[in-house]
Subunit: 456 residues, 2 copies
Amino acid sequence: MAQKPSIPKGTRDFTPEQVAKRNYIFNTIQSQFELYGFQPIETPSFENSDTLMGKYGEEGDRLIFKILNSGDYLNKVDDTLYASKDSNATTPKISEKALRYDLTVPFARYVVQHQNEIEFPFKRYQMQPVWRADRPQKGRFREFYQCDADVVGSTSLWQEVEFVQLYDAVFSALKLEGVTIKINNRKILSGIAEVIGASDKLIDFTVALDKLDKIGEEKVKEEMLGKGISMEGIEKLQPLFTLSGSFSSQVEQLKSILSTSEEGKKGIEELEFIDKAITQLGLQTATLQLDVTLARGLNYYTGAIFEVSAPETVQMGSIGGGGRYDDLTGIFGMKDVSGVGISFGLDRIYLVLEELNLFPETVSKNVDLLFINFGETEALFSLKAIKQLRLNHINAELYPDTAKMKKQMNHANKRNIPFVVLVGDEEMETDSYTLKNMISGEQDKVSLEVLISKFK
Amino acid sequence: MAQKPSIPKGTRDFTPEQVAKRNYIFNTIQSQFELYGFQPIETPSFENSDTLMGKYGEEGDRLIFKILNSGDYLNKVDDTLYASKDSNATTPKISEKALRYDLTVPFARYVVQHQNEIEFPFKRYQMQPVWRADRPQKGRFREFYQCDADVVGSTSLWQEVEFVQLYDAVFSALKLEGVTIKINNRKILSGIAEVIGASDKLIDFTVALDKLDKIGEEKVKEEMLGKGISMEGIEKLQPLFTLSGSFSSQVEQLKSILSTSEEGKKGIEELEFIDKAITQLGLQTATLQLDVTLARGLNYYTGAIFEVSAPETVQMGSIGGGGRYDDLTGIFGMKDVSGVGISFGLDRIYLVLEELNLFPETVSKNVDLLFINFGETEALFSLKAIKQLRLNHINAELYPDTAKMKKQMNHANKRNIPFVVLVGDEEMETDSYTLKNMISGEQDKVSLEVLISKFK
């Protein structure tokens, strides 16, 4: 019996139109990455399991796709373990490789492995798929692309400035105006936790604060109380909930809250540096905004934290994020290499551009001209012209079969090919081509030179 | 203990230079695909196992990378099977997904699954990685890209003609002159087998004939004898071993061998059609050559068989191949859909271009200008200029740290950045930039306008 074909849940086929639109986004991001001096690298789709395992927490370990060893893999499981039928304990014995879960850990591995060939500071970008065994849902897939740009090997804050500019440059190039680049700093979050006497509860504190937008002030306070943060401490947070005004006036308010924390003051200093530079340099279409609730749930950020929101007219989560991490390569034995990077969420950017109708009309490189096939002699005559058109970078093709005229015209219509060319005895005798506009229906008899110059 | 980082055998990291060179090949192939009217699709990296298993023979099944199910996967193995500790029998119970082994089977699956949205004939291209658990060796990897173009839904021989042109167009665009496009036809092989009374031994016969180049006439005959092909039959083959002259004169010689085989004569007719069209149309830099020993070991070709050899000056196997298959989608229940397609071997093309020094010098999009960082004020002044340069599509960047001049200059040298820009008090006062050529050492003080016009 023939199989009814399908694909695994959480994965997607992409049609020609979708590929063209995705490539438009990729190419736009890539151009800006290169203008900013980032260089591309690529890493293998699967890594040795021990490169990935333990780097994303317990939940992450569970969501990593593992690849089964080849051959008689069960033979290598010892009898005691085998008797236990314990899946978790058996996995490392029957699987040595795993699919990439993100681009950051493979990048760290790359930097350590190639450290002697790399000239630091190293600015790299990487646009490759990653895989997660997550429960699929709207906008969440088991295979999706990440587009990352990172610099390693320098602690300079000019890099944070440059990443704000880069976000602005990419979204401006995509004509997606009005995005908000939210910025925070891990040191500010640490400073606040210190000030309210909750330094040992930094994670609980930031996880709760991160929910302010979604659940509101009261619920956030309840959650903090529940996690054992004192009422006195929470009261000290009050100014945070009502922080308002311009970037610099918010910074002033923060200064009063954080006056007793050295780390907090360092964080403010960093924010101010970035804000002042961006004010001087200007942004094209984006806005830089301070958001002290921003934590991104990621524990490895040590300095700046970024997140980008789509314009308010669109309901969409973040379309990008990133930050500074001071010891990324430490997990692979290379200490004190500071890095900072940002990521673009391709799938969400796609949805936003679709919703706002921002894809250029010419994004699909469609065929300009379909030559109708009237028979062998006509086809050969047509192919000679098609060869010249293609040499002039014009997308053209011959309908492969001598089918009924109507069928061939329908084919052109269904593929949205704007022009067809008719070649019969008369055209061959006079070395000319009847060009028909498929929308207006207009026809015109032209020479090959005119045909080329019209579409070039 | 920190782990010493490495990657799985048979996989590769790609450095910026390698990515740039690979992208140059991809982009060149893609441009020609699009000029010829092919449209891109993409399919998921992993498919349901039953989509792939059984499609590539027993050897293929073994080489497919299987993905371990998530969760307590052993729980779903029944006790009797579990007690047998039989890896082969267990695999389908603990693994439901597998990594793509080629692009052809996923394409067939795509066509069947999307048949109602597709307008036939459907010309698609696909450039994605595939994975095989093969023993890695020189030039053979466990992860590698395939670049395929296929047409399905028409039996027209004009498509074979177009694929010969497409091969020529791609290799000409890559400046790889002198490739040989070898062509054969499955019907000719069947016809010969028929004529020598070995129709039931077609595979054995073609496998042996395929080795003529490598092991010579005598050994090929021995192998055929060993496979049970009669001495009388093998004697009838004699003209094959000495086939020579132009394409058309070889065709004439074949005609005399195949005069009693209807299928063989059909094969000759097809070859002649293609040869005559190509003679009329002309090729830019490639040569079309008849090779009756060409079988490509693949059983699914039913008509034309293609293989491309690099210029003779380079020692390299085939750099491309393809052919016509009359029932690709039958495995998924869609009958009588003829297809024809070709593939480009990216890794080998890369090696050939490297060996012949054919990569353009500008293939890596390097930074044109590095601004030396003398301090905060200078850096900000520089970033204002850099912003304008980038808006004019000039790759420029600021050294992120206020490091010693020598260190910054070394950085420019190591990254082969051709120019640095020096901005000090004098430059800031006069709104100018000192541009230094890193090769000649020449220096010049210029305005931003001049800087832009020089690099635009």
